[in-house]
């Protein structure tokens, strides 16, 4: 319950701001612009973060947690099988995942290299085999269709292979022109079969198996994919897990990715898994996706954006503070007599300070409301403008969108209101201490 005296001051403050809004307009505009800019920027960063997270976790099927053999990072190219997951290890992991209620889905991956040939040209390839249906649970509707030409793997039965677009070109395949590859506004491919043709509809993949024997398979080319990184498109091949394991004659896999129901489950899941693996003497490791080497690029990029944001926010906050200080000083200067009048009828110094502080707070709050409206409008306009950018090494552009950053808004409102409140409090203190008689005689 607010004491009556304070209620009066707050009411006065509110009315002063509302009735004399023109005097504070420029300040409010400055604060609103600052709020809007910070919110838009944060919304952009959040959206980038969400987008990159979605692309790694879902589109790239990295999942929230990656399970590998311990020491996977130490593996050398000389012995690629030393750190793969054996069948018993896979069974242990599968059994653990089935019993753990944090898990939404899991998928296995097998990576290997070899030579690919179309009968005339041969070159090195890097392949990824994975469980197609499990992978679809990661990709969801948005990323389900991943073929820039032809059809995705799930549209076929039996052995099939998709080629990276750069590799496909090298193997004498004609791909659709860039303009013919249509994307939805969210950056995903429009789900339609885009025709392509290859001089040889099949390619031969030759490998040395786990047991160092030669194996080869003639596989039909079902389509082309666009891996997110440019360098990979020149070597990449993707196929169903069964085809991959048959080709390298193994029942091992390179890693398993786990999709959890909630982001917050990551660390609890990792500790539960590690404890269980230790109990069963399994030499396995569980790594958060962001800490995995595959996501290193994303992590570095987000760091830079955060640095920018902090610099930007600091400067905006200081300018906002200066602006408010300016307005309040002028306002107080003009109202010295009013202060004197209020003091003479019994209001105390702290009531005066409260009134001006509250005015500052209301200016801040109204500015933030205006800023919020501008943010929402501009945010919607930007998100629907269809702008995109390639951020350096990506082969497909990222859409520029601004998300509704509620937490940013709350914290920006809090910070800006705190600044306006604080600055007003500071500048009003001196005026409030002036002797009543002097304030009544004061001429501005």
């Amino acid at each position: 319950m607010i004491p009556p005296r304070k209620r009066v001051m707050l009411t006065l403050a509110f009315r002063n701001v509302v009735l004399n809004w023109r005097h504070s307009l420029a300040t409010m505009l400055a604060i609103a612009a600052g709020f809007s800019a910070v919110s838009l920027f944060d919304g952009f960063i959040n959206e980038m973060n969400k987008e990159m997270t979605d692309r790694y976790i879902n589109r790239g099927m990295l999942g929230h947690v990656v399970i590998e053999k311990s020491g996977w990072n130490n593996r050398t190219i000389d012995d690629p099988w030393a750190y793969t997951l054996s069948a018993p290890e896979q069974n242990f992991i599968k059994s653990f995942l089935e019993k753990n209620n944090r898990v939404s889905a899991s998928v296995r991956f097998l990576s290997f290299m070899g030579l690919v040939s179309n009968g005339r040209i041969s070159t090195v390839f890097a392949a990824l085999g994975y469980d197609i249906q499990d992978g679809l649970k990661f990709r969801g509707e948005r990323w389900e269709w991943d073929a820039v030409a032809g059809k995705p793997l799930y549209a076929f039965d039996g052995p099939i292979v998709l080629l990276g677009s750069g590799l496909a070109r090298h193997l004498d395949c004609d791909l659709p022109e860039d303009s013919e590859i249509v994307y939805n506004s969210d950056g995903s491919l429009v789900a339609e079969e885009r025709p392509f043709s290859c001089q040889n509809p099949n390619v031969q993949l030759s490998v040395t198996t786990e047991h160092v024997q030669v194996n080869a398979a003639n596989l039909r080319v079902g389509g082309m994919v666009d891996i997110q990184l440019r360098e990979y498109n020149d070597r990449f091949v993707v196929m169903p897990m069964a085809t991959a394991q048959q080709l390298v004659d193994t029942d091992r896999v390179s890693r398993m990715s786990v999709l959890l129901k909630k982001n917050d489950d990551i660390w609890p899941f990792i500790s539960e898994f590690k404890a269980e693996a230790k109990k069963e003497n399994m030499d396995l490791d569980a790594i958060r996706w962001l800490d995995h080497g595959i996501a290193a690029t994303s992590k570095g990029g987000m760091e830079i954006l955060s640095t920018f944001r902090n610099l930007f926010l600091s400067v905006v906050a200081i300018i906002a503070a200066m602006s408010v200080a300016n307005t309040m000083m002028k306002s107080i200067n003009e109202r010295i007599r009013e202060i004197g009048t209020l003091r003479s009828i019994g209001f105390r110094r702290e009531d005066i300070i409260l009134m001006f502080s509250a005015e500052g707070l209301f200016i801040g709050a109204f500015s933030c409301i205006a800023g919020f409206i501008v943010t929402v409008i501009l945010g919607l306009l930007i998100s629907n403008a269809g702008i995109s950018f390639k951020a350096g090494i990506l082969s497909a552009a990222l859409p520029v969108r601004v998300s509704l950053a509620f937490s940013t808004w709350i914290s920006s409102i809090f910070v800006l209101c705190l600044i306006t409140l604080g600055v007003s409090w500071l500048v009003s203190r001196k005026a409030a201490r002036t002797v009543i008689a002097e304030t009544l005689r004061y001429v501005a």
Binding site: A26, H170, G300, N326, K330, R335, G392, L394
Partner: protein, 431 residues
């Protein structure tokens, strides 16, 4: 005229606190813009110099026709033969804008330590050009000292017959080559590959340095070596490409066109690609696009916030001095002259604030640089120091923009008041 300037200067002292607050907003905003500009200046120059010099891209890359795409798959067909090289070098010597050039090779094979062998991907340069590049004033200025080796010295420090090469760190680990040549121990390796004619061949090499590629995917297979050693390995006199450095970067495209024409006339079909074309330097172009967009956005916002701040302050000033304006008008000052006086006041305030902002900005830049903060942008091995480099042209340009905005904002704030009648002005209105 001079009187107006003098009056304006004197009037500044009349409301110090407000002017101080306004000036602080301008100063801080300007300092913020300078920090931003310093960061972008540093990063864009770092990336440019890294791309053009440290990565040996050159300002122009010259390939056999279609060689850019196809050399890696069919080197014999898409390389530059000895005769083509003669014609190319003649054309390069005759082109006044060419500063220097380099023959380069690239290829793959196996690298062994006497016990095991693993795949490698090699880039072959001219060691003396590498030395020239590493000691180039641009590289010294913009890229951190110590060059690109995590360990060891540049290949030019060793005689040609030593077969000096540098290994990526992951590859050095795989081969057990922790010590480089100068540290003693066994730094000897062998490179083996099929020649371009199809037979097997091998050469000796000596590890003189380690480096980081910055990308996990390439850090266990990359090597740098003298291009002549790769020619020896692949048993060829051909080269894969030329990198060309020009004297005036703004002439790059013209030089490219001239060279292409000249070589076409000499019967050598080539493709010449500029360093800032996306297909040659995708990382550079993509990053710069992104950075410029980001910085433009931030710059516009800061300028807007500063403008509102100035508008706020000027509006308050004008309202307070309505009677004074009325007085000036009544004694014969024209509207334009009175407006000019306020604008002049803003001018002095802005100039002083910009000067202070510049000092603050440069001080902040020095502090940040002295703090030696390290951050990790993608593709940069071992992280990068957060270093800002102020740019004098940027200082003047951004200062001029803010000054102009300030003056325009002031004029806007004042212009409405100037249309009031003298009698109303003299009557004045307070809050």
């Amino acid at each position: 005229m001079r009187q107006l300037w003098f009056l304006a200067l004197r009037n500044l002292s009349r409301n110090m606190r407000r002017n101080l607050a306004t000036g602080s907003a301008i100063a801080l905003g300007f300092a913020g813009i300078l920090l931003l500009g310093g960061y972008v200046n540093r990063i864009s120059n770092y990336l440019r110099v890294y791309t053009v010099y440290v990565m040996h891209t050159g300002h122009l890359a010259l390939f056999a026709q279609d060689g850019f795409e196809k050399f890696q798959y069919k080197p014999l067909k898409y390389s530059l033969s000895h005769d083509a090289q003669l014609a190319i070098e003649k054309a390069l010597r005759e082109e006044a804008q060419v500063d220097f050039y380099e023959r380069q090779m690239s290829g793959a094979g196996l690298i062994g330590n006497g016990r095991i062998s693993v795949p490698f991907y090699a880039k072959g340069y001219e060691p003396l050009i590498d030395q020239r590049v590493q000691s180039h004033p641009e590289v010294q200025k913009w890229v951190s000292k110590g060059g690109y080796f995590a360990k060891g010295q540049g290949l030019w420090n060793y005689p040609e017959d030593l077969g000096a090469l540098a290994l990526s760190k992951g590859l050095a680990f795989t081969l057990g080559k922790k010590l480089v040549h100068d540290e003693g121990g066994d730094a000897n390796v062998q490179l083996i590959s099929g020649t371009w004619q199809g037979s097997l061949n091998a050469i000796d090499a000596e590890v003189v340095g380690h480096f980081n590629t910055g990308f996990r995917e390439t850090d266990n297979s990359a090597i740098y070596i003298d291009y002549k050693r790769l020619q020896q390995l692949y048993d060829t006199e051909s080269v894969g490409r030329y990198s060309i450095w020009v004297k005036d970067i703004f002439q790059t495209n013209k030089v490219a066109a001239r060279l292409t024409e000249k070589l076409k006339a000499a019967g050598v079909s080539v493709e010449v690609i500029a360093w800032d074309e996306e297909r040659l330097s995708p990382y550079y172009t993509g990053t710069m696009q992104f950075l410029h967009s980001l910085v433009t956005f931030i710059g516009v916002v800061l300028a807007t916030v500063i403008s509102f701040s100035v508008l706020n302050s000027t509006t308050m000033t004008v309202v307070e001095r309505l009677q004074e304006i009325g007085m000036y008008r009544s004694i014969g000052f024209r509207r334009g002259q009175v407006s000019r006086m306020f604008v002049n006041e803003s001018f002095w305030l802005a100039m002083a604030s910009l000067a202070v902002g510049a000092v603050l900005g440069y001080a902040a830049i020095s502090s940040i640089n002295a703090a030696k903060i390290i951050y990790h942008p993608p593709g940069v091995p071992d992280g990068l120091q957060l270093k800002l480099v102020a740019s004098t042209p940027f200082l003047f340009i951004s200062g001029a923009i803010i000054l102009t905005l300030t003056l325009l904002t002031t004029y806007f704030a004042v212009s409405r008041t100037m249309r009031m009648r003298v009698a109303d002005l003299l009557g004045g209105t307070r809050r």
